[in-house]
């Protein structure tokens, strides 16, 4: 057995301390929570110039999670992969509609897409070929929602302005059940993620009804009253809770407890138009790490993220238009928001591309063999670097190169005791913290005033400009005010002889006057407040 004798540990003899600015006080509360960091990590792309408002967005449940957006009489299909490369044109369009498309839904395998339009027809398309497979006609008024069940491939659910909810057999193009009970337009609905037979619908009659196809008399099993016309309703992933959106509020209801309201979130200022379930955290880390959130969008242009575990709004984001629809991809990588004026804001988060189910397979490409490895010849540049990226084997003797300390220009100059050059170098860098730090170091070396007296006219102008900009900042003022006075005293003759410097001095004077005015008004305010505080303290 070979024994490796490690080189004796040595520490380097020289310690180098860089010139560092003073620390800033840390805010008590963090400016960005991990969660808001997560939500802002979705890199937003705009898909502009669609015809009218985006009434519905649906994600395909199968990778690579295509999404479909309905705008006017067209359904556009987008690939998130091409979006992340900056391509905003749809991968395909379906436009065989006679009226405005109101709702979209993918089947659970992602192969079929159901779309409803305001002419009262529900159509089923093949996603790949974009051919229409079925036309379901029975609604007499515009259809407002269509939904494939989460666990069932054969049926469809739809509802519309005729206040009837229909349960379809897709293959036979026939209605299995007509569900009566809503007294106004049915606007939305969702199918239970845990049962193939249960679903909910929401209507403008303020109620959300829970239906079960197994119930004989086709009456609703449960009914909750939202209190406002219901715009959207979803099942939360556990299947026991539902969220309803209507008016300015999103409400969460516990179905298992018999339709008890759990919480009402009222953080939107205008009508909430759409909600969906989003997830925080990596999908790969497992369900423990990932937590579900409710994403809600409203006409006020805000997207809010609601943590229904802690009953808290954890993030909110503003968009420049009323928002109509929202979608979140099952792989947690894409978030799509549709607006009322024909713009889609698609956000995509960076992450590992899922290779085996990635673009190649879906698009039907075989993986292309990589370029052949060329033999290295001395004519190649890489020849001279061969073997340098080799990883050390287990038994190899490692000789570490000591880490190089990165020195800024002013650090180098200070090391060489070129004090004036260091001051000029840092002044031209426009980082006030560093400038003040260098000045403090020069004070510690008792060199600052000597530097000031050695500056030539141009460099003096640089210094005066810096003083004018930063002398009134409270963090630096204790040093810079004194310095400004000294500079003017010491270099009075130079300043008088140069017009540019005179201008600088005028500016400096103006900013000082401004500061004095601020201080006066602050003192006035203090004078008003302090007796009040006295009185308050006495009680």
């Amino acid at each position: 057995m070979a024994e490796i004798r490690p080189e004796q540990q040595t520490t380097t003899i020289s310690k180098t301390f860089l010139i560092k600015p003073k620390l800033k006080p840390k805010p008590r509360t963090q400016s960005q929570t991990p969660e808001s960091k997560y939500w802002s990590s979705f890199k937003s792309t705009q898909i502009p110039n669609l015809i009218s408002s985006i009434s519905s967005i649906a994600f395909s449940p199968s990778p690579p999670h295509l999404f479909a957006a309905a705008h006017s009489t067209t359904v556009s299909l987008y690939s998130p992969l091409s979006l992340s490369e900056g391509d905003v044109s749809p991968s395909s369009n379906i436009s065989s509609f006679t009226d405005v498309v109101s709702s979209l839904s993918f089947r659970l395998d992602g192969l079929l897409l159901a779309a409803s339009d305001l002419s009262g027809i529900v159509q089923v398309f093949d996603v790949k070929t974009r051919k229409r497979l079925r036309r379901l006609r029975s609604h007499t008024r515009p259809v407002r929602f269509v939904k494939y069940p989460v666990l069932d491939k054969l049926h469809l659910l739809s509802g519309g302005d005729d206040a009837i909810v229909k349960f379809w057999d897709v293959a036979g193009e026939s209605v299995v059940l007509d569900l009566f009970g809503h007294k106004d337009y049915v606007r939305c609905g969702d199918c239970s993620p845990v049962s193939a037979d249960m679903f909910i619908t929401g209507s403008y009659d303020h109620t959300v009804k829970v239906w079960d196809v197994r119930v004989e008399n086709s009456r609703s099993v449960l009914e909750v009253n939202h209190g406002k016309p219901v715009e959207d309703v979803i099942y939360l992933p556990s299947g026991g809770l539902i969220a309803t959106a209507g008016g300015n509020s999103v409400k969460i209801w516990d179905l298992i407890a018999g339709g008890r309201m759990v919480y009402a979130m009222e953080s939107h200022n205008k009508t909430v138009t759409s909600i969906c379930v989003g997830r925080v955290g990596e999908e790969t880390l497992g369900s423990e790490a990932a937590e579900d959130r409710i994403l809600s969008v409203g006409l006020d242009g805000y997207m809010k993220v609601f943590d229904y575990g802690r009953m808290k709004t954890t993030h909110s984001m503003r968009f420049p238009a009323p928002l109509m629809s929202v979608g979140f991809s099952p792989d947690c990588r894409t978030r799509v928001i549709g607006t009322a004026n024909g713009i889609i804001f698609a956000g995509r988060r960076k992450g590992k591309e899922n290779v085996e189910s990635g673009g190649g397979n879906v698009l039907g490409f075989e993986s292309i063999a990589g370029p052949e490895r060329r033999v290295l010849k001395p004519t190649y540049f890489r020849y001279f670097y061969r073997g340098q990226s080799e990883k050390p084997a287990e038994g190899d003797f490692l000789v570490m190169r000591s880490k190089k300390v990165k020195l800024a220009e002013h650090d180098k100059l200070l090391k060489e005791f070129k004090h004036k050059d260091a001051l000029v170098a840092v002044l031209s860098r426009k980082n006030p913290e560093n400038v003040v730090a260098v000045m403090e170091e020069l004070v510690a070396r008792k060199m600052l005033l000597k530097c000031v007296s050695n500056l030539d006219v141009e460099e003096l102008g640089l210094l005066l400009m810096f003083l004018q900009k930063h002398a009134t900042m409270p963090r630096y003022s204790s040093l810079l005010m004194g310095l400004a006075q000294k500079v003017i005293e010491m270099r009075a003759d130079d300043i008088r002889s140069s017009d540019a410097l005179k201008g600088q001095i005028r500016n400096l004077k103006r900013s000082i006057e401004e500061e004095i005015r601020i201080q006066h008004s602050l003192q006035e305010i203090q004078g008003i407040i302090s007796p009040l505080l006295r009185i308050a303290g006495r009680r």
Binding site: E3, Q8, I13, G395, V443, L449, G482
Partner: protein, 810 residues
């Protein structure tokens, strides 16, 4: 008593022959340190005054590398020979005059000289103490010759006289030695064979004061550094004088005019060249063992390596402190450098990385005049037996009083070492919490003509036992412009108070509840809890009571008592004659001690229960210490100047131990160098109790006294009769000699040990050209003319390089 804290750098150290040990002169003893661990192995005790030279007897042949004899010379006028492996005193030569330096040139070329003549000569630099009337005082320092074998000085032979005691330098081959003398350089040739008298001398002249000299190992080259930072290199010195058969001492030969560039005053040298890089006095000058390089260093803390032939230089900057000595060891990869801050760095040679640091107690930092009245910057950690010391270069050194070695350092202010004279950043206060886990420091950056001054308060936390402190909170300008006069910690450790000359005090709290939890501690921060002031008077001292319920703040001559939690003024005690400089609650008793300085210095004890003065003395108190759970306190009082010489010999202070209720001290000790001293009680916890014993028992409490030079002593203040505290050194500390691995270097570290080669074996007994299994083991073991041809050697040699590892394992 445990003594410690001496200087390690007063004289050049010496390496043992196997380079595993380093011998340092530490006051009256010579301490032997292991170079592998950097810890003390043993010490040679016997001298009664400062040891000034230590010379290791070199091994005559490589086989006798383990030879551990050394000569030491001391100011007590004796030269002693030791076996430092045992350690044991072998013999003593009494000269009767203080020896400032000693060289033994014949040791440098071993064996022969000694065998032939049977006597060993040493050259010593002594102070002639007898017959003071005859000679003027300036010329009492002499260079003399001493016959060590016969234990006497050689007659009345005086080689030279100097106004100051000078350091003798011997050339590595042992044929010359020299001293500096103002602007001159005296070089003597050691006669061979050594007769009793005649010794020739030459003098080389320079225009500036010479500070240090060095001899080239093989050639006739001598280098000298002067006070202006120039380095002069004389080549071929003494060619005429020393080569002439019977030259007379000091004879000047008048020659034919010859071209001798740079040589002054017709000195006897071929040439003299000058190099100038250092800006101040050169303190270190040494040739490398092969003679190709010259090392120089000085106040800048930069080691400069000069290539002797070309004068090209290389720098090893930022050692952090002025350099004093540079010694290379018999192992070519190891050398040591001694710095003025009492640190000895063991360097790995060509790369100059620090292998180990032997860390002595650092000297106190110097201050501008305005800050002379500050506290001494020493804080005791009562439980761990540590002391935190303010030192040069904005550092706080943690020093273990029991083990007598430095533990760690905290760089309070991150600035590079500047060799300038002006000190512009000062650490003004250091405080440690009771459990030693939190430290607070205050620093002042002096303003330049009224701009840019800054006061800074910092809190540090240590995670683990090793006292690695990390910065927790910085407070810029805690009291606006006012300087901080004192910082003190609440007994619980999560509250602190700082008082300011600006007229207010602040109470700081640590914002997490459980400071015991280490992880929380790392991100704990300190925030201001309360501010208070009393009639806009300067706040000069602060102290928390033992239970933490009362905070006492001195407002000039008054003492104000506050509730630290509610920030309510409880009572005002007053008043003393002069401003109070320090306050301390006496353990668990209800008494408060205050000291004030100035023309009417005072020690006063106040009773908390009666809120009145109990008793007071007119004493100038330098330091106060009170134990946590006892009702007594100790004070270090400076004696008035007049009484100094009459009653106490050189002792300028007394340590007084009082019971707080009685004005009569229970014990008094006198002390040296009390100015700038410090006192502290140390608790003896079970881990310490094993190593400390007083007459076989362990005391509960030790009192530590540290004098102005940072030498300290630990003793049990309550044992009346025998005050001997002995330290049983832990065996594991006493240098585990790492056999094998650490001991090998150079060729042996790569290829393993060579088989012992016998000189007397006939070279043709074994011609190493036949291919054995391991040709490299025998390949070089023959005389050079019997080596096989290069073609055969090459393949075997390369093979040996390839099979390094299996060869090394065996």
């Amino acid at each position: 008593m445990i003594r410690g804290g001496g200087s390690y750098v007063s004289s050049p150290p010496a390496f043992s022959n196997d380079a595993k040990k380093l011998l340092l002169c530490t006051a009256n003893t010579v301490s032997v340190f292991s170079t592998a661990t950097g810890l003390q192995i043993t010490s040679l005790e016997g001298h009664t005054a400062l040891v000034t030279s230590v010379i290791v007897v070199p091994a005559p042949n490589p086989a006798a590398k383990g030879l551990c004899y050394c000569w030491t010379a001391s100011l007590d006028g004796t030269i002693r020979r030791w076996d430092f492996s045992v350690p044991e005193l072998l013999n003593t030569v009494d000269i009767g005059m203080p020896i400032f330096s000693m060289v033994i040139p014949s040791l440098c070329h071993p064996a022969e000289g000694k065998e032939k003549h049977g006597s060993l000569f040493a050259y010593v630099s002594v102070e002639y103490t007898k017959e003071t009337q005859e000679k003027p005082k300036v010329f009492r320092r002499q260079i003399r010759k001493c016959n060590l074998s016969k234990s006497r000085l050689v007659g009345k032979l005086i080689l030279g006289e100097t106004p100051k005691p000078e350091l003798l330098i011997v050339s590595p081959l042992g044929n010359f030695f020299g001293i500096r003398n103002k602007c001159k350089l005296h070089i003597w040739k050691v006669p061979d064979p050594e007769p009793e008298r005649a010794i020739t001398r030459i003098t080389l002249h320079h225009t500036k004061q010479i500070s240090v000299i060095a001899f080239h190992p093989t050639q006739r080259i001598v280098a000298a550094g002067d006070v202006t930072g120039r380095i002069l290199v004389w080549r071929g010195f003494g060619n005429k004088t020393f080569n002439k058969g019977n030259a007379v001492v000091n004879e000047r030969l008048i020659d034919i005019e010859e071209d001798k560039p740079g040589v002054r005053d017709n000195d006897d040298a071929d040439s003299c060249s000058t190099w100038h890089w250092h800006s101040a006095k050169v303190k270190v000058l040494r040739f490398s063992s092969d003679g190709a390089y010259l090392y120089s260093g000085g106040k800048e803390g930069v080691l400069v390596v000069w290539q002797l032939d070309t004068g090209n230089k290389k720098f090893f900057p930022r050692i952090g402190s002025p350099l004093l000595h540079f010694i290379d060891s018999p192992d070519p990869t190891l050398s040591s450098i001694s710095c003025a801050d009492n640190q000895i760095h063991l360097l790995r040679m060509p790369s100059l990385g620090i292998l180990k640091t032997i860390s002595g107690i650092k000297a106190p930092s110097s201050y501008p005049e305005a800050y002379k009245g500050l506290s001494n910057g020493i804080a005791f950690d009562q439980t761990a037996g540590l002391v935190a010391l303010r030192t040069e270069n904005y550092c706080i050194q943690f020093y273990s009083l029991v083990d007598d070695r430095g533990i760690s350092e905290v760089q309070v202010c991150e600035r590079n070492h500047q060799p300038g004279d002006d000190i512009t950043v000062i650490v003004t206060a250091v405080a440690l919490s009771l459990d030693g886990s939190v430290m607070s420091t205050a620093e002042v950056k002096l303003a330049e003509e009224g701009i840019g001054g800054l006061v800074c308060l910092k809190f540090w936390v240590s995670g683990s036992q090793n006292k690695e402190f990390s910065l927790s909170t910085i407070v810029y300008e805690p009291h606006r412009d006012g300087g901080i006069s004192a910082v003190t910690f609440h007994p619980s450790g999560c509250m602190a108070a700082s008082s300011s000359f600006g007229g207010d005090f602040k109470v700081w709290t640590c914002n997490n509840e459980s400071p015991k939890n280490e992880q929380v501690l790392q991100n704990s921060s300190w925030t201001c809890h309360a501010v208070g002031s009393y009639k806009k008077k300067q706040m000069t001292a602060a102290a928390f009571s033992a239970d933490g319920s009362v905070l006492a703040i001195a407002a000039e001559t008054l003492i104000t008592l506050w509730d630290p939690y509610k920030n309510v003024l409880l009572a005002v005690l007053g008043e003393t004659l002069m401003p109070i400089v320090s306050l301390s609650f006496v353990g668990n008793s209800d008494n408060l001690v205050a000291t004030s300085c100035g023309s009417k210095a005072q020690l006063s004890v106040w009773s908390m229960s009666k809120l009145s003065l109990s008793w007071s003395y007119k004493l100038h108190i330098e330091a106060l210490a009170s134990a946590v759970d006892l009702s007594s306190f100790a004070a270090l009082a400076l004696l008035p100047e007049s009484s100094n010489e009459t009653t106490f010999d050189e002792r300028d202070g007394v340590i007084l131990l009082y019971n707080a209720t009685e004005p009569v001290p229970t014990a008094i000790w006198s002390a040296r160098k009390a100015k700038g001293g410090a006192l502290g009680f140390l608790k003896v916890n079970p881990s310490l109790a094993e190593v400390i014993s007083v007459d076989g028992k362990s005391p509960e409490l030790l009192l530590a006294y540290m004098n102005g030079d940072r030498e300290y002593v630990l003793f049990d203040p309550y044992s009346k009769n025998a005050r001997e505290v002995s330290v049983i050194h832990k065996e594991d500390l006493a240098a585990p000699e790492l056999k094998g691995q650490a001991g090998q270097f150079g060729y042996a570290s790569i290829y393993g040990d060579l088989p012992e080669y016998d000189m007397k074996r006939t070279p043709n007994s074994r011609v190493p050209s036949f291919p054995s299994e391991r040709p490299w083991e025998t390949i070089f073991s023959g005389s050079s003319h019997a080596l096989p041809p290069l073609t055969k050697l090459c393949s075997a040699f390369l093979e040996s390089l390839l099979e390094k590892r299996t060869a090394a394992v065996e």
